[in-house]
Amino acid sequence: MYFDTVGDFLSMGGHGPYVWFCYGVSALVLSILVGVARSRRKQAEQQIRAIVRRKKASSSSTTQH
């Protein structure tokens, strides 16, 4: 550890706010990218399930008649 105390680590000789802001925003932006990819994946899966359900429903109704 380069810093002597946790306070020193957080303040970074006055540069703390600049440094922590950069890492905070970066963590946020990178998590948003992963989050967007995941939610789009869920949407796509739901649409595919709906297509399969419709296909099943139409094929079972045609075999019954």
């Binding site: 600049y18 925003v25 990819a37 595919i48």
Partner: protein
Amino acid sequence: MSISSTFHKWGSPRWFYQFSGKLLPWLAGLSLLLLVGGVIWGLAFVPADYKQGNSFRIIYIHVPASAVAMGAYMTMAIAGAIHLIWRMKLAAMVMKAIAPIGASLTFLALLTGAVWGKPTWGTWWVWDARITSVLILFFLYLGIIALHQAFENRDAAAKACAVLAIVGAVNIPIIYWSVEWWYSLHQPASISFTGQSTIHPTMLRPLMATLSGMYLFFTWVLLLFVRVEILDRERNTRWVQDQICGESR
């Protein structure tokens, strides 16, 4: 295996989907390990810069975001060229998937650069060659996203985006050499592949960790986006429906 059969295999969305699925956990784990580990190393253990003090620690996110933003653009331009020349659909999907990731990374590069500039140069922003050309990179990414949404027709959108991506690639060498061609407030590159790097090894090692971590993170998220694109486009095919709903039908 001949070149053309390799090409066909890689161009097959189904093969790509199944192959990339195996890579995902490795890419996710390794990228997060390198990014988180490298950042903790760089923030807490590396000594402060003798000139800049602690503000230099922003390097561990600023350089990876900038470098990968440029690398992503080149990948997008190459994918665009492959799509135009060989009509490979997968290349169009890769191109579309890169734009939002590249825009996010360029945004981070500009923002962390501005925040680093304030305590170091005394200003958030200057209109110098390096910073302006990276701003142009950001607008190129936004332009490609907008162009994609402007077209109803998917193929027309991909063609237009490929042309813009290829033309815009001229900006990449300009960004790279801007600090040498013009007098700039931005410091020149500290890492050299051909000669001696001017950055101390203790500062360089965590940077190598976050840099490689960011490349892997980009690859991971790119695969996530491309896979969604594949599912969307091939939703009416049997293999996609089997993939999502299981084989039992």
